[in-house]
């Protein structure tokens, strides 16, 4: 399910089946060109990827809007805010709160997060042709689906 009015109606009727919420985390900045552009590309890929993941498992997961933060932000402070999100979700109740991100720096403070952090290896799609992009996203989706299944 996505955070849309149509899906929220479905969620409301099937709450007991949808016990997992997925929060994509993406850094952003507008500064040095190369680094900013890289963040922007990754944001796109994360959006695409999260959408595919949701399609695959829509009957059991809810996908939230992307949580964005400034690339240089103090991660511990961000973690506090993410935990606020997490507590809000757990009230619903969602049993599993999973964060997905290309940003490996969360790994270090994964213990301070109240949900599970899943790091995804970066897939650069900038120069790939559309057919290859589909293949890459599909592969990564299926692998992540397996990983998510292990939490159930």
């Amino acid at each position: 399910m996505k955070w849309t009015s149509v899906d929220l109606q479905k969620y409301d009727q099937a709450k007991e089946y949808i016990d997992t919420i997925i929060v994509p985390l993406a850094p952003f900045q507008i500064g040095a060109l190369e680094a900013s552009a890289k963040n922007a590309d990754q944001y796109d890929v994360l959006t695409l990827f999260a959408r595919e993941l949701e399609k695959e498992l829509m009957g059991r997961i809810m996908l939230t809007p992307i949580y964005t933060y400034i690339t240089s932000a103090e991660k511990l402070q961000e973690a506090e805010r993410i935990n606020e999100w997490t507590n809000h979700f757990k009230e619903q109740p969602f049993k599993q709160v999973l964060y997905i991100s290309f940003d490996p720096s969360w790994r270090k403070i994964a213990n301070d997060l109240e949900g599970e952090f899943i790091w995804l290896p970066t897939a650069s799609l900038k120069d790939a042709d559309p057919a290859a992009v589909k293949g890459i996203i599909r592969d990564q989706t299926l692998q992540t689906v397996e990983l998510i299944k292990s939490f159930w």
Partner: protein
């Protein structure tokens, strides 16, 4: 010659012109209601487009295989590419069947032999929904309906899939 020309009298000439002009006006007035009346005939079925899924019919076996393809979907002014997939196999009557992989419970994607515990069945990872090879839901699992099927046809040896319809044996 000149006698014959005079056979069109002034009265007749006026009659002809008035009928002509009146006819055009009547046609002009009628054209929109008529167009509206026969509209259902002119409207083409937008969902009826078949798409080549890139699979040769001769390659279809009794083992279900997954095909992925994409179609252009026009939603008002917004045109987008939507990806579709299906599980295709040849049933016992040698007919080709293409199932939509969307679970009838809550819409997850099912896969053939998706669980090692249930060979020869479609399996939904979300809530352990299962379907037999013919797409019918296994009683006692969450789904209450069989998998939907795609309309299909063969063109030049390639498989084309169209609209999704409910399973007929339900």
């Amino acid at each position: 010659m000149s006698d014959e020309k005079r056979q069109v009298s002034r009265r007749q000439f006026l009659n002809y012109t008035l009928t002509g002009v009146g006819g055009f006006m009547a046609a002009g007035l009628l054209i929109s209601p008529v167009r509206m009346a026969i509209d259902p005939v002119l409207k083409h079925d937008e969902g009826g487009d078949f798409a080549n899924v890139g699979l040769e019919v001769s390659e279809i076996t009794s083992d279900p295989q997954r095909v992925d393809w994409s179609v252009d979907q026009v939603d008002g002014w917004y045109e987008s590419e939507v990806s579709r997939s299906a599980w295709v196999y040849r049933n016992d009557n040698d007919e080709i069947v293409a199932f939509s992989p969307v679970c009838k419970h809550l819409g997850c994607v099912v896969s053939w032999e998706g669980s090692d515990d249930y060979p020869d069945q479609y399996y939904c990872p979300c809530h352990d929904g299962r379907y037999y090879k013919d797409g019918v839901n296994v009683p006692g699992t969450p789904p209450l309906q069989p998998l939907d099927v795609y309309e299909q046809e063969e063109r030049d040896g390639m498989l084309f899939l169209g609209n999704i319809r409910p399973h007929e044996e339900a």
